[in-house]
Structures are given as C-alpha cells and as structure tokens.
Amino acid sequence: MKSNIMVLAELRENEVHSSTLELLGKSRELSRKLENSSVTVVALTTEELKETAINLLHKSGADKVLIATNENFKRFNFTYYLRVLEKISNNEKPRIILASATTTGRTIMPALAAALHTGLTADCTGLDIDDESGTLLQTRPAIGGNVIATIKTPNHFPQMATVRPKTFSPLTYNYEGFEKLEVISFTNDSIEDNMELLSFNSTDSSRKNVQDAQVVVSAGKGISNINNLELISELASLLNGAVGASRPLVDQKWLDYESQVGLSGHTVKPDVYIAAGISGAVQHIAGMQTSDFVISINKDKNAAIFEYSDIGLVGDATQILEEIIEELKNSKGERKNA
C-alpha cells in the first residue's frame, strides 16, 4: 500500500506561502522513513496556479501537485474547504496530512479530523516516524508545564498535524522526484450555501515584524520596569531588528500582541535571538528555539533559557543591555569612520 503524505498548501492571494515549503521539506524527511511513499500537495484555488508556483512546489519536495478549483476558494470558505478536502482525502487515502498552523489551517484541520474521525495534534514542534509502528510521532509543548509531550495516533488514519510557520526548514536543494500534476474542477451542487463573503479588506503588512526580522530582541519580566523597554528598542534598531516579548509583558500591555513570541504568540527563526530577562518557560521556548543563534541575559544562572542559548550572560538585564549598546555604538562609530 502506498503511504502518501498530503500537505495542504497555504495560499495567500494565489501565491504559495513559505510555511508550505517548510512542510514539504519536512515531508521529504518523513517520506524517507516510510516505504513506497510519496508527497502530495493540495492547493485550493479559484483558477489554476501559475507555472512558477507549481514548479516551486515540485522543487520544494512535492511528487504530485493536486489543484482543486472552485470560485468559492478565493477566501477561506469553511463549508467548501471542508467538503472538498473530505472528498480528496477519501480518494487519496493519505497516511499523513500536514498543514500550517495559520488561521486557515487551525480551523480547517480540526474540522477535517472530525469529519474523517481521526485525531489531530496542533502546533507541533517536531515530527518523526515511529520505527516500529510507522505511525507519526508528534511533539508539542504540553499546556502549563515545562514539558514536551510526544503524541501518537495509534489506530486512526490519516494522522494529522498542524505546524507553526518557521518551525521547519525548506529543502536546501531542488527536489527532482516524480512530477505529477492533477487539476480537478470541484463542483458539488449538493453543498448548501450557508455562508457568504460580504467584503474583504487587506491589512497593511509593510511593518517590520518579529517573524521576518534577522535579529529579534525580546524582553521578559526580568526587565522589571516599563522604561527599560527603551533599551530593548534601542538595541533592536541598532541591529535593524524587531522587538519581541514574552507573554507576561504582552498580558500587561507593555507591548502589543504583534511582538509576542511563543506558543500563544509568534514562532520566530531569526539569525540572532536575544532574550533579555526571559526565564524560558516552555511556551516561550517553543516560539524561539529554532533561531540560529541565541543570546540570553538573565539574573538567575539557573534560568531555563540558558539551556537553549549559545551565549548566556548572568546578570542584571538592564545593566548588561546598557553595556552592549554602548560598545555597539562605539564600534559603529569606528566602522563609520573607517
């Protein structure tokens, strides 16, 4: 029996979102552990995808690109999405279904899981195949505690998981596997039109956000005084980076939700992540552990954050930030003069 992995493509205005490429990268890795398996990516769209988009999906690891078209796929129409994915799943019989943990993925995946009578694990930070049973091993931080739970769906198929954008990496090479394209025009007159889109206003996305910055400087409770946030933004702007925050700071409205890094905020993957005064609760770690290089500053030398760091500075965050900023300013001056 073929053991297909199916990835639901995240399309934004008919462009493939980077999180889909990350899932394809992971799918190839999983596929190597499953005999006779292939990777299918499913895209729901109003018209056909551009050739470049299809090529991108193949290069990124898809053996087969399956495009379903319907005029109701322009925006996320719950009813139509559910019906078409239910139908495709029943035809394709995938062993695994993966989707990005976006507003669409986080809504349609649980619905699809319920419709297919199977389990779903949300916001996985790790995926693997169990050597013995061949089932999907899904890891995610468990609620409330400093623990990571590994979850499995022993007897139900498909095995379903959502993954935050920026958790995995896309392939670093061009995949040259079996290329297949299938386009189905989805018509189903039996679908009840129970929801209708009245309007859509796109939001301005010009602002520098934590998910795209090369450097993220994050503040936690340890900075103790709202005035010290100035140091965080000063360092961030020196480094052309973004300001992040742990949940407590967002909860007390020192910074807005857009800055929140962690399980209930954003997952980030910058080149350098600086955690100032963050103790390292597992929820926060979940949002930053895939950063390339982590620098953390904390008064408590036993703080959990140090275990996820490349450099750890033990001391008062405010004072250390001041010194770093001072030295950076000096060397900036030197570089300018050089």
Partner: protein
C-alpha cells in the same frame, strides 16, 4: 433564538449576552465538560446572565482529547435542545489548541467561522460577523445554525452583579454523566480519543551555552558584541 457558550471564555459569553439583549426572544445556555470544580465557572456564567447551565461530568470523560471532547459536547448540545448559534472561545476548553470549536461544528454539521473579531449584525436566520486572517479582515454572512469561535478583541466581558451572584449561588447546575447522555463509554474520555500521549519529556537541550557569570561577564559581553557587530546598521 437560542445560543450557547463555553463558559470558560468570557468573551464568548459576553457576545451571547449582548445578542440576547438586542434580540428579545433569546435564551443563552452555558455548557462545559470538566471536573466538578468546573461548576464555579458555570456559576459565574449564571451570575453574568446565562439562563441555564450544564456540566458534563463523569470520570469516564477523563483523558479526552479534542476529538472525544468535541464529540461529547456535540452530543450534549443535541440532547439539551436546538440551537441557532454556538459560541466558543478562540482557544478555550482545550487550552491552546483551538480545535474544539471547529470539531464541535463538524459533529453538529453546522458551518464554522473562526477568529471572529466583531459581531456586525444579528438578523432572523443569519448573523454577519467580521473575522481576521493573516492578510485581511473578512465580513461573512452565515446562516443559522452555526458556530463561531470568538477572539478577545470582540468585546469587554461584563462583571456579574450582586443580584446575579445571589441567584447563581443558589442555582441548580444541570449535570450530565455518560449514562444520562446515553453515550457509548467507548466513545468518550481516553477510550474515545484517537490520540495518545506516549511520552512526556523535558525539552531537549539542543545547545551548549557558554555561560558568563561574575568576573567573566565582561568577556561575555565582548563575545556578544562581536556577534552583533555583523548586524549593525551602518548608515550609508
């Protein structure tokens, strides 16, 4: 119009109560599944103005994943009555996963709108809502019956009044166990859950940090500056 809420989410509760206030003939029910202590939350809901409350409580329900939870909730909803609108928090009973809302919607066979940020209008037979996605704000008209998952932005929940509290303190909470719900014991709780937690571990230590403490702190700061210098934004 009848609507129902998950009482752990005050924003969903507030949404229901406001709909009731603007649409005369509405009853709001609160339902939750959980241990006996969940009664507290239901009493608070009652104090805020909910008409009736239901607690699904049975040791057989323990260990349920979102699939089993949703299935049990949907079953209870069907036995309690016929609802036009079911509201849940964006991330509610199940902590952080946000799965229960959409799953309940499927088990009840109703459309779902998630990440609702505003109730625009409630009319006979449908509701207009705004929801927010990564790229924009959508306005949808959804026919009843339907399920909405509500974000914090939608409103500011009310405080219960003294008279509400008094009533709630003495109110009866309807209790459903597995038997009363006529659920198959194999379809609830851990037994009815497709997923299993197979391992609980402390997060894997993936880095070996060089820690600079006390007298070495200076050296550490120098190291950090060395790394960061590469990212300095130099004006041109």
């Amino acid at each position: 119009l009848k609507s129902i809420i998950n009482p752990l989410d005050l924003n969903a509760l507030e949404t229901a109560l406001r709909i009731k206030e603007t649409n005369g003939d509405t009853a709001v029910y609160a339902i939750t599944m959980g241990p006996p202590a969940s009664e507290e939350a239901l009493r608070e809901a009652r104090a805020m103005g909910v008409d009736d409350t239901y607690l699904l409580c049975d040791s057989k329900f323990a260990g349920a994943d979102t699939y089993a939870t949703s299935r049990t909730l949907a079953k209870a909803l069907k036995s309690v009555g016929i609802f036009d609108l079911v509201l849940t928090g964006e991330k509610a009973i199940d902590g952080e996963t946000g799965q229960v809302g959409p799953e309940v919607g499927v088990f009840m066979n109703v459309p779902v709108a998630s990440y609702v940020t505003r109730i625009v209008d409630v009319k006979n037979g449908y509701i207009d809502i705004e929801r927010e996605s990564e790229i924009g704000r959508e306005t949808w008209r959804i026919r009843f019956p339907c399920l909405l998952t509500i974000t914090k932005e939608v409103n500011e929940p009310r405080l219960p009044t003294l008279s509400g509290k008094k009533k709630a303190r003495r109110a009866k909470i309807n209790q459903y166990n597995c038997e009363k719900l006529k659920s198959n014991p194999n379809e609830v709780g851990l037994k009815g859950s497709p997923t299993r937690v197979v391992r609980i571990g402390t997060p894997k230590v993936s880095r070996e940090a060089r820690i600079f403490d006390g007298p070495e702190l200076k050296t550490g700061i120098k190291e950090v500056v060395k790394v960061l210098t590469n990212y300095l934004e130099v004006q041109h």
